[in-house]
């Protein structure tokens, strides 16, 4: 058994993928069961239609939607949680790193569209290029932001870099707005139409009336994020750099005394977090089809919440938190109106989702997978 667990294939491929599947299925199952249970309880109050039937009708699709957006949240949340782990501060400009990645990716595709390559090249090559470019630009932007706005403040009280991060966030939003609107005054970027990403994979499951519909871009989104999560897991737990990152996170002065170049490690952390955010941005753009410089705010805020929910500083926690938040949002948006008979529409989804979060945090203040650690000096 020991031999098996130390096998790198198991440790770095099977185990993380298994973990992701368990989290995704587990969270979906718990929420689905809870919703169906609620439907049975309130069935008697609804005279016009069968509540249970109506809930079950769209349940598979609601789960798929929730997981899709959940994986986006997870990927962004990793950027927050990694930086927090190393520096103990909330990098509020991360949502803008995410936005920049998405806009860079869309602009690349728009460029291909302009040159005509978009229709002739393989669609997956285009997406891969866009993701790569988004990762490179966002990663280097994150490193630059750290050097310019956070590093000079490293010894300062905790709130100071936080304010700097908020300022950086506004700066990046309006800088991008300025750059995009230089020529036309229009700062929305629209994804050009290409490939077969809008099509659906239809899967008929025996026992369920409506067949499951997986949109190709949703599958792509989940697939790419899973690959990135596995890669990140290997990087952090399987390489020397990862060991150094963990060492800096645990005790910065000691790590420095052991000969680890702390500044370098912090830069690498921002690079990885930024690159993940950039990739998530491109995938999100594929789904959203239209981006503007302010599009990062809400996903960023949600991902930050996801990181806190999972236990900030904990990588696995960010993954779990993102999935749960995505599912909660999808469930509440799709079912609030059904359960309240139209009194509360989808616009109250965030209030509901955050109410659940508050409950979780009351019961587990350090997050689902977080450990209660004493305040570090």
């Amino acid at each position: 058994m020991k031999q098996f667990t130390s096998n790198p294939f198991y440790k770095f491929i099977l185990f993380p993928i298994g973990q992701i599947i368990v989290f995704a299925l587990g969270a979906s199952l718990v929420l689905s069961l809870f919703t169906v249970l609620l439907a049975y309880i309130f069935r008697g109050f609804m005279t016009e239609f069968d509540l249970v039937e109506r809930v079950l009708l769209i349940l598979p699709q609601v789960v798929i939607n929730g997981l899709t957006i959940g994986f986006v949240y997870s990927t962004i949340a990793l950027g927050y949680t990694m930086v927090y782990g190393v520096l103990e501060f909330i990098n509020f400009s991360h949502s803008e790193i995410f936005m920049v990645g998405g806009i860079v990716g869309v602009e690349l595709m728009a460029y291909f569209d302009h040159t005509g390559a978009l229709q002739t090249m393989n669609q997956y090559v285009i997406i891969a290029l866009a993701i790569l470019l988004g990762m490179v630009i966002s990663g280097s932007l994150a490193v630059t932001v750290e050097r310019v706005a956070y590093k000079p403040l490293r010894g300062a009280p905790r709130l100071v870099p936080l304010i700097s991060a908020i300022g950086m966030s506004f700066f990046l939003q309006d800088a991008v707005r300025l750059i995009l609107s230089l020529t036309t005054g229009e700062f929305n970027v629209i994804l050009p139409n290409f490939g077969t990403f809008d099509e659906f994979l239809i899967l008929a499951v025996p026992g369920i009336a409506t067949p499951l519909r997986f949109q190709i871009k949703s599958i792509l989104l989940v697939g790419v994020t899973v690959i990135m999560l596995v890669g990140l897991n290997y990087l952090v737990n399987g390489t020397k750099v990862g060991k150094a990152i963990r060492a800096v996170a645990q005790d910065r002065p000691s790590a420095s005394l052991m000969g680890i170049n702390v500044n370098m490690i912090i830069s690498i952390t921002f690079l990885i977090g930024g690159a993940l955010g950039g990739a998530a941005g491109v995938l999100f753009a594929l789904k959203a089809t239209k981006l503007d410089p302010f599009v990062g705010f809400f996903p960023g805020l949600k991902a930050f919440t996801a990181a806190v929910l999972g236990g900030i500083g904990n990588l696995t926690g960010a993954l779990l938190g993102g999935l749960i938040l995505g599912l909660l949002e999808s469930f509440s948006a799709s079912y609030l109106s059904t359960f309240t008979n139209g009194a509360f529409g989808a616009e109250y989804k965030d209030i509901f989702a955050f109410a659940v979060l508050i409950l979780v945090l009351i019961l587990r203040p350090s997050g689902l997978l977080g450990q209660t650690v004493g305040q570090k000096a």
Binding site: R54, L57, I58, Q61, V62, N65, G66, T68, I69, R177, S181, G185, E186, F187, N188, I190, N193, D198, F200, T210, R213, Q215, F284, K287, A288, T289, K290, L291, D292, V295, E329, S330, A333, S334, Y335, S337, T338, G342, G345, A346, E347, K349
Partner: protein, 421 residues
């Protein structure tokens, strides 16, 4: 530590000096351009005209951002009107200038601009806004300052029902427009169920409520009534919508949000008809939604500002506009042209009556008294600033891209009376 503080201070001082140095030259060069140059150039060429000073007419509309296509059209329509119709005031010795402001389709920006506008005593009249949600709070400022504004696009009833002397509009109202859309859904499309979604703005929610009331009167089932500020990922809203499969989805909002929503709803398998109001009237909608507008049950919208081709008097306007700005006029450009024309004519009338530069109050009174032969119709305002009889159109979308937007067809157009206060 002290040394660092000193260094920081000196850097700050240096920076402020540089900034001050940068800040001064534009101010110094700008001043003569604005106030002196026109007088200096005008005096020698038109010798007999005595210079009476400067009059500015403001425009406020979104010039940047997702709704800028329509906002810029408003500004450009007004600009063209000033150029073509400003001659009479210039002959009286006034230097008439346009003062364009960008409200970014945001209420607080609009109100902040409004404060700047009313503070500029040379501004005697204004054209704006695009969004009712921006117009309503901004017009409180105009009302307090007594500055007349003419709206080329705002349809929310509250814009005029407050009864302000200073607020007028050259278009119809949502409490007529939304029932007209509902009538189309009920009679022409034969809809039995409708899903209503709005953008949570004064305009969107207002239209949605009027539509709901009308739908309930006709016993159309309202499947759901949802407000959302989401602009990117509509999955969670679309899933129950597709399951409920209503005959009509009524979107009360602006095209930049609606386009993405339509596309995602179609992708998810919705087959019915999309219906909207005048906020949909932009060629950008076709760029965002593409095939989603024509597949399934298609898409139609009501509007208070038909395409320029619907107005016989506007043919020259369309060619002039295209020649000047290099693009065909979007919705509201002709309305903005008329609003500016009314501003100019009223200022002239007030100036003649007053025998000199009129006050803002005199201009506001003159606007209410005017009967103006415009591009869109003969315009005269009732006691709250509405058109007694306004034009409404129902337009079916045939376009799937920006370039083919002109292929949309007018299914019906009617003149309907304003419900008044």
């Amino acid at each position: 530590m002290n040394k660092r503080l000193l260094a920081l201070l000196s850097v700050l001082v240096l920076a402020s000096m540089v900034l001050a140095a940068c800040g001064q030259p534009p101010a110094a060069t700008e001043a003569p351009v604005v106030t002196e140059a026109p007088v200096a150039t005008e005096a020698p060429t038109e010798a007999p005209v005595v210079s009476m000073g400067t009059i500015k007419i403001a425009t406020q509309s979104p010039l940047s951002g997702g709704q800028s296509l329509l906002g810029v059209a408003i500004k450009q329509g007004a600009e063209l009107a000033l150029e073509q119709l400003g001659g009479e005031l210039a002959a009286m010795g006034y230097d008439v200038q346009l003062a364009p402001y960008d409200d970014q389709a945001t209420p607080d920006v609009g109100v902040a601009n409004a404060k700047n506008i009313v503070a500029d005593s040379e501004i005697l009249c204004g054209v704006g806004h695009l969004n009712s949600g921006v117009m309503i709070p901004s017009s409180e400022e105009y009302h307090t300052a007594g500055l007349a504004f003419i709206s080329p696009a705002n349809t929310n009833p509250v814009v005029t029902t407050r009864g302000y002397l200073e607020v007028n509009r050259v278009v119809g109202r949502d409490d007529v427009q939304a029932p007209a859309a509902e009538e189309y859904a009920f009679s022409t499309l034969g809809a039995k169920s409708v899903y209503i979604i709005h953008d949570k703005t004064a305009y969107g929610q207002g239209v949605a409520e009027f539509f709901r009331v009308a739908a309930e009167e006709d016993a159309i089932t309202v499947v759901d009534f949802v407000g959302t500020e989401e602009t990117a990922n509509f999955d969670a809203i679309v899933t129950p919508l597709v399951a409920a499969a209503p005959d009509v989805v009524f979107f009360a909002g602006i095209y930049n949000q609606a386009g993405v929503f339509f596309k995602q709803a179609r992708e998810a398998g919705y087959e019915g008809t999309f219906l909207g109001t005048d906020g949909m009237d932009s060629s950008d909608l076709a760029d965002l939604a593409g095939d989603a507008l024509t597949s399934g049950g298609g898409m139609a919208y009501t509007t208070v500002a038909g395409p320029v081709s619907a107005y016989p008097a506007a043919a020259t306007f369309a060619t002039d506009y295209t020649a000047k700005f290099g693009a065909a006029p979007e919705a509201y450009a002709a309305q903005a042209y008329d609003a500016m024309g009314i501003c100019l004519a009223s200022i002239k009338a007030a100036a003649e009556a007053a025998g000199g530069t009129p006050t803002r109050a005199q201009v506001a009174e003159a606007i209410r008294a005017i009967s103006y032969e415009g591009l869109t119709s003969t315009i005269a305002f009732d006691e709250i600033g509405d058109l007694p009889l306004a034009k409404y159109f129902i337009i079916k979308v045939n376009a799937t891209s920006k370039d083919t937007w002109g292929s949309n067809e007018i299914i019906a157009s009617f003149d309907l009376a304003s419900p008044g206060k």
